[in-house]
């Protein structure tokens, strides 16, 4: 079986992991337009090449990032999200619900 290296638990079978989608920056849900939000929710780059994506080690519910080649299926690097998220992500206050 294919082996993935979990930054927390070390090398494990790929069946222990859950794919979590492309890594993409989230627009601010309060201030972005509907079009920007729809683009974030649905659209993907779906590149044929090296991509950065979210994965989870299912038994420990630990989320991390991986760099993987989507043609050769080679996993180049896995790393803790702390590398990219050095400070806590704060969201602005929720917008008021608009009727209708």
């Amino acid at each position: 079986m294919k082996i993935m290296n979990c930054p927390l638990n070390g090398p494990r079978n790929i069946s222990e992991f859950t794919y979590g989608g492309e890594f993409k920056p989230m627009p601010d849900p309060v201030s972005c337009s509907d079009a920007e939000w729809a683009d974030y929710v649905f659209n993907t780059d779906n590149l044929a090449g090296v991509v950065r994506e979210w994965w989870m080690h299912t038994p420990s519910s630990y989320w991390f990032l991986a760099e993987r080649h989507t043609v050769t299926d080679e996993i180049l690097r896995t790393f803790d999200p702390k590398e990219l998220f050095t400070t806590r992500v704060e969201f602005s206050a929720a917008a008021k619900e608009i009727a209708g």
Binding site: M1, K2, I14, S15, T18, Y19, D34, A35, A38, D39, F42, N43, T44, N46, A48, T70, V71, T72, D73
Partner: protein, 413 residues
């Protein structure tokens, strides 16, 4: 008599039927360029020529005719979907398949076997009831059946697989299968007869777009001008859309399947179970085909994995225990363009005269005739979207109006 036959067979007038005319040079310009000579692209070309009198068409194929996902699917034809948009569309496709052999004067080996989907939980039974009613409403033949009826239809099926006893079944009488290559070749032959040019080994490398409209396509055999273009490829839809500057919600996943050695006929209907992530059917040659869900993560590669094969076969053997001794003959994979709502992307694109036939995931073969017919209407009318495919436009992902067919698609194709 046998002597006459021999003489006829050896004579120089023996009619060698040519399916396709020999390849020609590319012209510098076409009214319509169709990218991809699979079932969908060829069907679009055929209906453009047949119903709309447009024959100055080039169908461009990077490899060989019908060699992509047209050759790799497991040839299931059915219309027992969940939404009214989906059922209306696929039911029309099933009706067109029924008369396709006559239309082509070429046997596509259409075989109406019926499709049986198994429910192992109460929740599935409820969704089956809805699917049966929606299907009947749009003229399909679908019934709920109980264990006894299932036993009569498929005596070899194990009704109590491990932890998941079968409670009921969704019996789709219209379910069928056909020879996928024959469908592609039937369309190709008839389209070529009407003057459509099919160019194999002609890869589209780039799209030339000026002022929001496509003017030409760049191929490995030179650049050709076009009045409009249709994208009808599978597996790389999002990459081609990106060349036209179009963002898409498509993610590409491999889908694996396999067949056993041939057996005497024992299984008439196509049998599937989404709880067991498995579908099983016996071909007219006697081989048993196994298919299941897509791979768990995206990949642009048709490699196979032992873990997926193992889990798929474990479930297949729970359904048909005697197959544990069967020998596998072939296995393969295809890459599928999955959309978030498991419905296709058909219709207009942000590029004015560039039409999309994409995102066909694991449900493309069964839509071949209706897809060709509606895409031809769209192209011939210069961009007036036919009623039947309006719900499948790319814009549904920016207006939050998806057509959710996930439950009716996932592992039964």
């Amino acid at each position: 008599m046998p002597f006459n036959l021999l003489k006829y067979g050896l004579s120089s007038e023996y009619p060698v039927e040519v399916d396709l005319p020999p390849p020609k040079e590319l012209k510098s310009s076409y009214d319509v360029v169709i990218i991809g000579a699979g079932g969908h692209g060829l069907a679009t070309a055929y209906y453009l020529a047949k119903y709309h009198g447009i024959t100055n068409i080039a169908v461009l194929e990077k490899s060989y005719l019908g060699g992509g996902n047209t050759a790799r699917n497991t040839a299931v034809i059915r219309s027992n979907y969940l939404t009214s948009e989906g059922v209306r569309f696929y039911a029309e496709s099933v009706r067109m398949f029924q008369s396709l052999s006559n239309e082509f004067d070429f046997n596509i080996m259409y075989s109406e076997r019926g499709q049986l989907t198994l429910a192992h939980t109460d929740a599935t039974v409820r969704s089956f009831r809805q699917r049966a009613e929606v299907n009947k409403h749009f003229g399909g033949r679908t019934e709920m059946i109980d264990r006894q009826q299932i036993r009569e239809l498929v005596p070899s099926l194990n009704l109590d697989p491990g932890h998941l006893p079968v409670i009921a079944g969704l019996w789709h009488i219209d379910g069928a299968t056909a020879r996928h290559d024959a469908v592609a070749w039937g369309y190709a032959k008839q389209a070529a007869k009407r003057g459509v040019e099919i160019h194999q080994l002609t890869e589209v490398q780039d799209l030339i777009i000026e002022n929001g409209a496509i003017t030409a396509v760049k191929t490995n055999r030179g650049t050709i001008k076009c009045g409009c273009a249709v994208q009808a490829i599978a597996g790389h839809s999002s990459l081609l859309m990106a060349k036209a500057g179009i963002r898409s919600p498509i993610q590409t996943f491999p889908l694996q399947a396999m067949v056993t050695q041939p057996f005497k006929p024992f299984l008439d209907p196509l049998v599937s179970s989404s709880a067991l992530h498995c579908y099983v059917q016996q071909t007219s040659r006697g081989e048993v085909v196994f298919g299941g869900g897509s791979d768990p993560y995206p990949l642009f590669n048709t490699r196979s994995t032992l873990d997926l094969k193992e889990s798929l076969l474990a479930h297949a053997i729970e359904m048909f225990p005697f197959l544990a001794n069967a020998k596998l003959m072939r296995q393969w994979a295809g890459i599928t363009d999955m959309t978030p709502d498991y419905s296709p992307i058909m219709g207009l694109s942000p590029v004015k005269n560039y039409y999309l036939d994409a995102g066909w995931g694991t449900w493309g073969f069964k839509a071949t005739p209706i897809c060709g017919k509606t895409m031809a209407e769209l192209v011939a009318s210069g961009g007036k979207v036919p009623e039947l495919i309006k719900p499948f436009g790319l814009e549904r992902f920016s207006t939050f109006q998806q057509v959710n067919e996930m439950g009716a698609t996932a592992a039964s194709h």
